[in-house]
Point group: C2
Chain length 490, copies 2
C-alpha cells in the first residue's frame, strides 16, 4: 500500500475508475452505479457510472478544481459498492483550457478564461464513415479554421447518405430490430475516440443527441428509452471537456417528441451533467424558446440573409433581434451551405457563405459553416466529411484571424442602418458593408484620439491601410461588394 | 352658330374649356369655378376649374364614355358662371389605352382592358433640370423598358441635388419667401409638358405630391395651404390619363404632417379626382396602412432582399406577406438603387438591382428601378435624369419581355420554400432561384400534359430550351446564381 503513489490528473482532464461487476441479465438496466467525489475543500460531486460490457463498469470524472480528491462508489450491487480511491488534481496540461462556458452574456470563454470564438462546421455523420474517410476528415479539419463540429450520435438516413452504417449505438440490426436497452459499447468507444481526436485539435464536439433523419427507430424510442439513452451518454461523455450538448438537429421536425419532452430532456442533462456543458437545440422552422433557463445559447437555423430586418424594429438585424429576445450567445448553426446540390439549403455560392458568416459575426453572433458540393461518389462534407472543395474556409480563416487580433468580446455598435458593426466603443470598430458597394464613405470618428483605418476585402482577403484619421473623414473604397473597415485607435 | 361643328374628342383624351375672367385680387383664392359635364346617358361629373393667370381660367375634362357630352359652368363670378358647351367623345385614339386601374386585385390594367405591367424608374427632380438635360432624360426613357416614373412636383434639396431650381410651384423666391396662395402657372405648364412627353411614350407619371427634402417651406405649408395645393393640382392634372397620385415620398419623414393629415389628403383627392387615378403613398420606415379604403395599391420602400422572411409565416416572402396584409397590388417603389454612392440605399450592384426586381416580380409584386452612380458632375439618374450608366435596365427589359410573353396576371404559386414562382396553375410557371445555384433540380409536373422547360439566365439574358417533360423530371442547371425556369404547357 505504501508504495502506491497517488495518481496525478491535470485540471479538466479525465479520471476514470474501472470496476468489475456482474455480467448476468441486462446490467445496462439492472445495475445502478455512481461515485461521490470529494475535494479537499469539502466540495462534492455525484457522478454516474456506466456499464461497458463484459462485466466492466466505469466511472469517469473530470476534476473541476486542483487539489486532493477522494471518491467512494455506491451501487445496488455489492461488489461495486463502497469502492474507494483518490487522486491529486494538478495544473492544466498545455493546450487544455478547460470546457467552454458562456462569457460576457453573448460570448464564450474556456474555463481558464481564454476567449473561445466559435467558427464551427457541419459533419453530421462523419463518425459513421470508413476509417480512411474519417482520417481524411481529421486531416482536413487540422488544416481548417474550424473549432467546433456539429455531429450526430445517431446514424443519419438522408439524401447523399443512404448507406447502412457498419455499427449502431444499440444492439440489433435493421432486419431484426434494435434493443434500445442494450448499448453497443464498441460504437461508443469509437465515438469517444473521435471526440478525443477533435479535442487534440482544439475542436469542440457539438453532439447532436436526436435528429429526424432515421430509418432505425432511434428518433422514436419512447420517453423511457430516450431518458436511459441520455443518462448513458451523459455518464460516458461528460468527462470529455470539449463536449457540447445539442438536444437535436431540427427538433421541430421530430414529430414523436413534444415540447414538454424536450424541456424534460434538457432538465435531465442539466441535472446529470456535473460540469454544466453548453446546452442548446437546433431548430428547423419553429424556434425553440432559447430564453428557457436550461438553454445556454441559441442554436439557430436561418436560411436567408442575416442582414434581414423589418417590422417592429426597423434596421435591427436578425442577430440583434435574437440577442435582445434571448439574452444569450447566438450561434447561427445553419444558414445554408456552400455548394451546388439541388436543395435550397445546400447551394450557396462561396461568396454568400462567407457573406452570411460576416453578417452574423459583425452583428454580434457566430455562424457555422457547411459544404454540400455535388459529387459523383456522394461524399459531401456536411454529411460524411472527407475533403473540403469550397472557397469559403480560407476566407473564414481570414475572418477568424481578424477577430482574434481584435479586442476580446466585441459588441454590436450602431453606426448606420445600412452597415453592421462590432467593436469596443472609442477603441476599435469593424464595419461591414455586405453586398453594398460604396465608392467612398463619410465617417464621424471621436475628436479625441487618432484612428488607423484599414480597408478589408472579405472576399479577396486583403487589408489595406488607408491612413490615420480623427473626427469627420471620408474614406475611399473600391466600389465592390464584401468590403469592411477596421478602425483602430492608435 | 350653325356652322360651328361640335368638336370631337377621343375617349380618355383631354377636353379643355378656356374662359376669361377677373384678374384683380388673388383669383387663386377668391374665384370658385367648376363645370357640370353631362353625358347623353344622363351621367354627370363635376369638374373643378383653375386659374391660369392673366385673367384666364380653365376647366379640363377627360371623357370617360363615348357619346355626346354637354357642360355648364358654375362660379361665384358672374362672367364665369353659366358658360355652356358640348362635344362628342369618339373612339380611343391609337396608343391611348386610358388610365391605369387596379385589375384582378393584385394587378393593373388600362381602362380599355389592356394589361399594364409596371416597370418603373425613379426621377425625383428631373423636371427641374435644364432643357438639354430634360431632353436627354426623355431620349433615355424612350429607349428604356420603363413605363412608370416616380417624380416630385416640388423641387428637391438633398445630396447630389443642392442647386437652386430655376422655377418654383409658387410665386416668390428663396430670399423673399413664397406665397403659397399664388401658384406659378409657368411651372405647372412646364410640369404638364413633361407629363405629356411621358404620355406620348406610354409612361405613367407617378406624381409625388409632398416630400421631406425641402429648403423652401413646401413641406410645411400648413393644412389650409396643403389642401389648396392639392385641389389646384387635381384640377390641373386629373385630365391627364397617365397621372398617378403618390401622396408622398417617405411620408413618415415629414414631421409636419400627422397620419390624420395624410388620411384627409387622400380623402380630398379621392373626392376631387373624378377619374379615380391610382393613389398611394411611399414610406420611409413605417408602413402606411395600405389597407385603408382610399389607397389603391401599396408603394413600399424595402431596403433589403425581397426574399426575406421569418417569424409567424416561415417561408412567406415579403411580397406575399404584404399581399396578404393589404389585399392590393404591391409595388416596391424603392428597394435600393443600382450605383456606388456613399449611402446604403444607393450602392447596389447591378446584379442585386436585377435580383431584387426578379424577387419581387416572381412573388407577385412589382419593383421600381433607380440608379445612383457617382459622377463628378453630380448628374445622377435617380434625381436629375440624363443618361443611364448601369447594367440593370437591359436586364429589366429582358424580364419585361418574359412577363409580357407570359399569360396575363400571373399569380404566386407555392413550389418550394427556397424558390419563388409565379404562373397559371397547370399552364405556365416561372420559377426563380435567386442567389442560390443548384446544378440540377427535381420537379414534379402534372402527369397530364407536356411541358416545355427553358432555363433562363436572368443576368446573362439567355433562354435555353431543355426539352419537353411531364411528371417527375430532373432539370440540369448551370450552377450559377440568378437562374430561372420557364415551364410552359405545350
Amino acid at each position: 500500500m505504501m508504495n502506491n503513489k497517488i495518481p496525478e490528473i491535470g485540471l479538466w482532464e479525465m479520471f476514470e475508475v474501472t470496476l468489475e461487476g456482474p455480467k448476468r441479465g441486462n446490467p445496462f438496466l439492472e445495475v445502478e452505479l455512481k461515485a461521490i467525489f470529494t475535494h479537499e475543500s469539502g466540495e462534492t460531486l455525484e457522478i454516474e457510472g456506466f456499464y461497458n460490457d463484459n462485466g466492466i463498469y466505469k466511472i469517469r470524472f473530470m476534476p473541476v478544481k486542483k487539489g486532493h480528491w477522494r471518491y467512494v462508489t455506491e451501487s445496488n450491487v455489492e461488489e461495486l459498492d463502497g469502492q474507494k480511491g483518490e487522486f491529486i488534481c494538478v495544473d492544466l496540461s498545455p493546450g487544455n483550457h478547460g470546457p467552454v462556458r458562456v462569457h460576457n452574456k453573448y460570448h464564450f470563454a474556456y474555463a481558464d478564461g481564454t476567449p473561445y470564438i466559435p467558427f464551427g462546421t457541419t459533419l453530421y455523420a462523419w463518425i459513421y464513415q470508413s476509417p480512411t474517410l474519417i482520417k481524411q476528415t481529421l486531416d482536413t479539419l487540422r488544416k481548417s479554421p474550424f473549432n467546433k463540429v456539429r455531429m450526430c450520435i445517431f446514424p443519419k438516413y438522408y439524401a447523399y447518405n443512404r448507406e447502412e452504417p457498419v455499427m449502431y449505438p444499440f444492439k440489433g440490426s435493421i432486419s431484426e430490430g434494435f434493443d434500445f436497452t442494450w448499448f453497443n459499447v464498441s460504437f461508443f468507444e469509437h465515438l469517444e475516440r473521435q471526440i478525443e481526436n477533435l479535442m487534440k485539435m482544439g475542436i469542440e464536439a457539438d453532439l447532436i443527441l436526436f435528429h429526424p433523419y432515421d430509418r432505425w427507430g432511434f428518433s422514436n424510442m419512447g420517453f423511457e428509452n430516450d431518458i436511459r439513452y441520455l443518462r448513458y451518454v451523459v455518464a460516458r461523455l461528460s468527462a470529455y471537456r470539449n463536449v457540447w450538448w445539442s438536444l437535436a438537429n431540427e427538433y421541430d421536425f421530430l414529430e414523436s417528441k413534444t415540447l414538454e419532452d424536450w424541456d424534460r430532456y434538457f432538465q435531465l442533462i442539466q441535472e446529470k451533467d456535473p460540469y454544466n456543458h453548453l446546452r442548446s437545440i437546433h431548430c428547423g422552422i419553429t424556434f425553440y424558446d432559447y430564453s428557457k433557463p436550461w438553454v445556454t445559447h441559441a442554436s439557430i437555423q436561418w436560411q436567408g440573409s442575416l442582414r434581414s430586418w423589418g417590422g417592429d424594429n426597423w434596421g435591427e438585424k436578425k442577430v440583434l433581434e435574437w440577442r435582445r429576445r434571448y439574452g444569450k450567445p447566438i450561434i447561427v448553426d445553419e444558414c445554408g451551405y456552400e455548394g451546388d446540390i439541388e436543395f435550397g439549403w445546400g447551394n450557396l455560392t462561396s461568396q454568400e457563405m462567407v457573406n452570411r458568416i460576416w453578417e452574423g459575426v459583425t452583428t454580434g453572433g457566430y455562424v457555422t459553416h457547411g459544404e454540400t458540393y455535388y459529387r459523383e461518389d456522394e461524399v459531401l462534407w456536411w454529411s460524411k466529411g472527407g475533403r473540403l472543395h469550397g472557397q469559403s474556409p480560407e476566407r473564414i480563416a481570414f475572418l477568424k484571424k481578424i477577430i482574434e487580433e481584435a479586442p476580446d468580446y466585441l459588441e454590436p455598435i450602431h453606426v448606420d442602418w445600412d452597415v453592421s458593426c462590432i467593436g469596443k466603443e472609442k477603441d476599435y470598430y469593424l464595419i461591414y458593408f455586405d453586398v453594398n458597394r460604396p465608392r467612398f464613405r463619410k465617417l464621424t470618428l471621436p475628436e479625441e484620439g487618432s484612428y488607423r483605418i484599414e480597408v478589408i476585402d472579405a472576399w479577396n482577403m486583403t487589408v489595406d491601410v488607408v491612413g490615420t484619421f480623427r473626427g469627420e473623414c471620408k474614406i475611399e473604397l473600391p466600389g465592390r461588394s464584401y468590403m469592411a473597415l477596421r478602425i483602430t485607435r492608435v
